[in-house]
């Protein structure tokens, strides 16, 4: 009995040692040489493997960054400028700083503003729902509310608000990796510049239908009236397909469009003071009045000059 046990232990241990030795020798013989900097860069990365940089994961990013001649096509949105500085330090490259971005949900069709027109009982997936029909409200462009974006977010930055039925972005947690942008079949979520102290303006609607139809479907929608477009003095707003869009590169955060919007489709967030709509409206009206007067004066002056010219030519 005892001998059997001893023999068993001896044989198993012997086998183990032999196989370990074989594995070690094979590993030495067929070792893949890798640039040691790849490992260093990978360690400096956040390690989320989210794919926000456009590569398959952090290792793929590191591998590509080490082989590249500069870092122009490499940027980790999750780690941001800090991580990129570290990576640049390891590789000895220059790095261009990028403004921090954040995911913005451009739909404000809350349960109360956007009445349900039918009942959906299929799979709880926005993708499936979008392939079947336009959604359970009158708006065929808005949020479907099944939370594909929430499932796609690896940082826990998105959550569904049960009151409004819309996803909410936690700015602290959002890394602007873009997973939610890819997951949304209605292309509602956009990566926008975070803005100074988080202040930003955006049109919270993507409905391309004409005004009357939009109004019927949702009380908070952009009706494409173009008032914001006419108000903006920074050339930041474009109006295409019956929906306004604010270019965050040009917006100066004056909030005039927000004050003038008749449906409240333009949102300003993280501003220190609440918007005094009346004051801003008065300011705009004053400015427009002055502009009109100036235009009238200029026209009168031009006419006078022309009259003088005519008189001169006649005389």
């Amino acid at each position: 009995m005892t001998t059997t046990i001893i023999w068993t232990i001896a044989i198993i241990s012997g086998l183990g040692l032999l196989l370990a030795l074989t594995l070690y020798l094979v590993a030495q013989r067929f070792k893949v040489e890798e640039d040691p900097r790849v490992e260093l860069v990978e360690k400096a990365m956040p390690g989320a493997n989210c794919g926000g940089c456009g590569f398959a994961g952090c290792h793929a990013f590191a591998d590509s960054a080490v082989k590249a001649s500069n870092l122009d096509n490499h940027y980790c949105p999750v780690g941001g400028n800090e991580t990129m500085k570290k990576v640049a330090g390891i590789l000895g490259y220059e790095v261009k700083e990028k403004a921090p971005m954040v995911a913005v949900v451009r739909c404000n069709g809350t349960c109360s503003a956007r009445p349900r027109t039918n009942e959906y009982d299929g799979s709880l997936s926005c993708k499936v729902k979008a392939s079947l029909y336009s959604g359970d409200t009158g708006c065929s462009y808005g949020c479907l509310g099944c939370g594909d974006c929430v499932a796609a977010c690896q940082f826990g930055a998105l959550s569904m608000d049960p009151q409004t039925g819309l996803p909410v972005v936690d700015e602290e947690k959002c890394t602007a990796c873009g997973s939610c942008v890819k997951a949304c079949p209605k292309a509602i979520i956009e990566l926008r510049k975070k803005g100074p102290r988080g202040m930003r303006e955006f049109v919270s609607c993507v409905n391309k239908d004409k005004g009357p139809f939009v109004k019927k479907a949702c009380a908070n929608a952009c009706i494409g009236c173009g008032i914001c477009f006419k108000t903006c003095t920074h050339d930041a707003i474009t109006l295409e397909n019956n929906v306004a869009y604010i270019d965050f590169g040009k917006c100066k955060l004056c909030r005039e469009c927000e004050a003038m919007c008749p449906t409240g489709a333009i949102h300003g967030v993280n501003f220190p003071k609440p918007l005094d709509k009346e004051a801003v409206k008065a300011r705009i009206q004053e400015r427009q009045k002055k502009a009109r007067e100036a235009a009238a004066a200029a026209a009168a002056a031009a006419k006078e000059a022309e009259d003088i010219k005519k008189e001169e030519s006649n005389g």
Partner: protein
Amino acid sequence: MARRTFSIGGVHPNDAKISRDCKLEYLPIAPTVYIALSQHIGAPAKPVVAVGDKVKVGQVIAEPGAFMSAYIHSSVSGTVKSIGPRKDLSGNNQMVVEIAVEGDEWIESIDRSDTLVTAIPDDPKAIIEKIKLGGVVGLGGATFPTHVKLSPPPGKTCEMLIINGCECEPYLTSDFRTLLEKGEQVVVGTAIIKKALGVGKATIAIEDNKPEAIGHITKVVESLKSKGPEYSGIEVLPLMKKYPEGGEKQLIDAVMHRQVRSGGLPIDVGAVVDNVCTALAVYEAVQKNKPLIDNSVTVTGECFPKQANLVVRVGTPLNYVIDYLGGVPESAAKVISGGPMMGKAIANLEAATMKGTGGLLFLTKEQTKRMPESNCIRCGKCADACPMGLEPFLLNRLYKAGDTDALEANAAQDCIMCGCCLYSCPAGIPLLDAISQARGQVMGIMRARAAAAKATASSPTAK
């Protein structure tokens, strides 16, 4: 003799053909019709009328936008009120031509008499041209332009024409009524398609839950045999009732015992399949110069008080059809366009009918209730039921894991979306939802790959 059917999978839902005794009835014309510009597979048609134009019944209002496209004709006479986006039955915008109806004036070239014209034009090219000008598309559901189907690519020959009279979807009876009441026209249409293809044999396949239709068509085929050489070689084949018998690939398997390979077309195995209503439309287009301006629609459901098989002009608003029969019943929870297996729930009853609309089905809350989803118990019923020989449980799992390579290897692109897997799953897993997504993804990848291969092949630097 054992009854013939397809060899893999299939299910046996209750056929519920409660409207089978309702005769075809012409629906009065609606005050306004909305004719969509994309009623077929392929590019949308390009409108050739302008707002304010007077149009007559049968007048062309849109021309094909590409090779794979079809003519669209006005189904009414009146004035074009607008051309613009309108919500279709799934609630998405689609370009439509809105026509306000005034009277019922037809263009002169259309023969509106009931006489059966059995003399078939000699030139196959002329026949196909007439079918193209008639805007005929496949009325079995896929709305594939018929003139494209009847022009097989060079190097491929058709050995048999199959006319699909299976109507395997439960509830629907419009094909059955067409066979009974317009059987002569269907058989002449079959002979015309046969001539256009230059093929010797044609089979009209009918499921054996429609014995009246089988009997009637057999008699008609016999009586027309003397009319000319085109009428010989047509035979009627009863098939065992099994869903999805009317699926193109299943039908070829049942009739010819041949299987279309993955990614292939029926013509690869020498078959062309057309629906009975398509055969009727071909007859009308070729013999009577009447383009495809109306189609038969079954309006049915246990909760619907007045069953009907209506001949409806293309572009008639759905709520006009329903109001004609007494409105939506209280107990109806869901309205479906098409049959219960493959039909689509309608989100917008203001939408209009299209060439391919085959049925309006009303279901109660009890009938549409989804089973609560639970875990897969690996029973394999879905794999047994799949008529394409796929493994739905596996595809579902791979889709959830996002493994597109494995999805392609397991032929997710071959899914015909018949719903047999979902029907048979005892755990209530929405298999079809996942697989249809997976199918779309894989087909997208395959198309992109084919386009890339084409680009490399045609670029001058490629060797």
